[in-house]
Subunit: 421 residues, 2 copies
């Protein structure tokens, strides 16, 4: 048996032990993990220093290097995130529906854990603790396959998690860190369809496409977030401007940042010059169609690719649309099913927008930056799904469970002639 298969089997064997933990036991475990992480801060920072050195030697710079970096405050934040997950509602055992059928049989739908979740991720070492915590709170075992650039940091964080698991009488395999980071090993992991119930890739589009391409286990993911702000003819323009600036500039490198601005032609002349001035002041460059460029001289010409791009940067694509329907058609054609916003005071336009689009999150008069598990009330988030199955949009602990049927009778049979007594 291959090493990855035997690791995964050990993880699967741990799953039934986690599935039956009650809420206080899971809370104590996660708080124990937070404590162990705090006590091991020095180890984690020493391990991270090795990763940072290796990354620097390879010429990694800027935002990527910063995402890898840990310091005392960041380790404390990771520990706090474990405590935050411990405070979330436990999704396991929740009865979502309860019916008594005409024959007296009682039917309940009850949430149970998925089983074994494989996380495939890059760079940020905090995912090691965050993902483990959410999986455990939902009663799952987890296989963590992080990036090679963070291996020392991930190993040190996992050691803290294992210490707490063992202190609570649970096998370390409940949180299994894959240290063999060869691509063929990842492919093998993604094909263990008798062991792994779900794979969640998080990272760049290249990683996600690789995972989707090679997986034989179910995958939930999003490739990118090309989020649109549509400013309707009936928009409150100051409100639209606030949402535009928040969506584009408050954190341009994340998937719920705005990438495209669509403006109804009836208000383009009033809105676009002011919007452009506010964006330009904040360092955002504009790429627009002809109508946009006629109103905003600083805008360069947008290509078709720009309208499908996730810039993750201070760049925005702009288009003036002739009608509401043109805005919908643009989003359907170029969108990524992640998050779309309409700014309007016209309630019927708002309803039509919501109904016409199939994106995971559709917003009326609110910032795209709220498209996040924490912001939308899920507590924490294991990822965002644009896979239209199981979960759609930000995924919290509940997305790591499944409803099953629990049926109770008093001897009812389907065919009366089956009765012997």
């Amino acid at each position: 048996m291959s090493e990855i298969r035997s690791l995964a089997l050990a993880c699967r064997d741990a799953a039934p032990l986690l599935a039956v933990l009650d809420t206080p036991a899971k809370q104590a475990l996660l708080i124990g993990m937070a404590d162990a992480l705090r006590h091991r801060t020095a180890d984690v920072l020493a391990a991270n220093a090795k990763d940072m050195q290796q990354a620097a030697d390879k010429g990694v710079q800027g935002a990527m290097l910063d995402r890898l970096r840990l310091d005392e405050a960041r380790v404390a934040a990771i520990a706090q995130a474990l405590r935050d997950v411990a405070a979330l509602p436990d999704p396991v055992g929740v009865v979502t529906r309860r019916d008594t059928l005409a024959n007296g049989v009682q039917v309940e739908r009850v949430r149970i854990p998925l089983g074994v979740v494989a996380m495939i991720y890059e760079a940020r070492p905090n995912v090691t603790a965050d993902a483990a915590a959410l999986c455990l709170m939902a009663g799952n075992a987890v296989i963590l396959r992080g990036g090679s650039e963070a291996l020392h940091s991930n190993r040190a964080i996992a050691a803290a998690l294992h210490e707490a698991l063992q202190a609570h009488g649970l096998p370390a395999a409940a949180v299994t860190l894959v240290e063999d980071l060869r691509r063929e090993t990842m492919v093998e992991l993604l094909q263990l369809s008798d062991i792994v119930d779900l794979a969640i890739p998080r990272g760049g589009e290249g990683l996600i496409r690789f995972v989707t391409e090679h997986a034989r286990v179910p995958v939930i993911k999003h490739y990118k977030g090309v989020c649109h702000l549509y400013v309707d003819r009936a928009a409150d323009l100051p409100l639209a401007l606030n949402l535009l600036i928040d969506g584009k500039t408050s954190r341009p490198g994340v998937c719920n940042a705005l990438e495209t601005l669509l403006v109804h032609r009836d208000i383009a002349q009033e809105f676009l010059p002011r919007a452009a001035a506010a964006l330009l002041t904040r360092g955002v460059s504009l790429r627009g169609d002809e109508a946009t460029r006629a109103l905003v001289s600083q805008a360069s010409a947008a290509t078709e690719e720009d309208y499908a791009a996730e810039f993750l940067d201070l760049i925005i694509a702009v288009r003036v649309v002739d009608s509401f329907d043109d805005a919908i058609a643009h989003i359907r054609r170029h969108g990524s099913d992640h998050t779309e916003v309409i700014v309007t005071t016209d309630e019927s336009a708002a309803q039509k927008f919501v109904q016409a689009l199939r994106s995971a999150v559709v917003m009326v008069n609110a910032s795209s930056r709220f498209s996040d598990g924490g912001q939308l009330g899920l507590g924490a988030e294991i990822g965002i799904s644009t896979t239209r199955l199981h979960a759609y949009g930000p995924m919290g602990a509940e997305s790591l469970t499944i409803e099953r049927f629990v049926v109770r009778g008093e001897g009812q049979v389907r065919h009366p002639e089956s009765r012997v007594f």
Copy 2:
């Protein structure tokens, strides 16, 4: 572009038109389909006669030939099933949760259709109408890929469905029947991950494994139903006998029929001889372990394979277990995650049974034959899932939808410093 891709694209283009239909429009459409099918009964029977002749020429016999056969009553039943689906609750637009966050933002979870569902199935022509109806009621477009043995029948049924679609101003592509039945065309369909949101295979284990192996789109399926009846030491034995006979003999060829009987050793001597007599009288042959054979002379020796087998026939595997835990261990090892039943008057044993097993349907003192969408109150069923994702157990119209986020604000931004006004 290949023909299957262009068919699938036309189907996808129909999906937004279906997604916005209101409940009365969908009801009228399904009733129109039922009427068209009744009017075309003669066409459907003539087409079916061709399929039956071809099947007979190929030497198809018995149950397989019967599953293919239509007559006036069966066509009427298919039309009635369309009316029954029209009477089901519409899952689309249902608000499942509603919250107002601290910042005043309102968050709703609302059900929307999946989009495009591909059904891959064998033999029974009724699936053509049943699957189309459930997909349409949930606002989805559907691609139907039936078996070659039923092609004439499926084409005649689809023609009736298309007549109703067109009468309601909808494109026939909303229900697309694939007539090119080459395996490579099915593989191409299963890899259209930019078009098909979900594939549901229904049929023999060979077909389902083929679909799972080749799909790049999400697949929900079950391979087989190895359903267990565990008779606890605290069982009501007459009740246990009724459930055993109903589960094994009322329809042995279906996936919710019992395949394995586990009996606690404390009651084996009292229960097994009576159970065996009742089974033998009804033509069921028993395959047992040593302890079973010591009590039931007519039982042959069970192999390990017998305990994992879906017999779909009047055969049952039997084992005497030393304890409750041995019963759980047996089911975990040999089970298919479909349906398991405990017979007990001991409430704590019942609870432990439900908690220890991860099967899609777990029952206490009720027949495994209730593990069916219609029986469990879903109205109709598109399939049964043992895939631990999205849906688990019998799947009704709701399983063909997904919850998304609808967010309404009054200009809230995530970072106050983003406010221009």
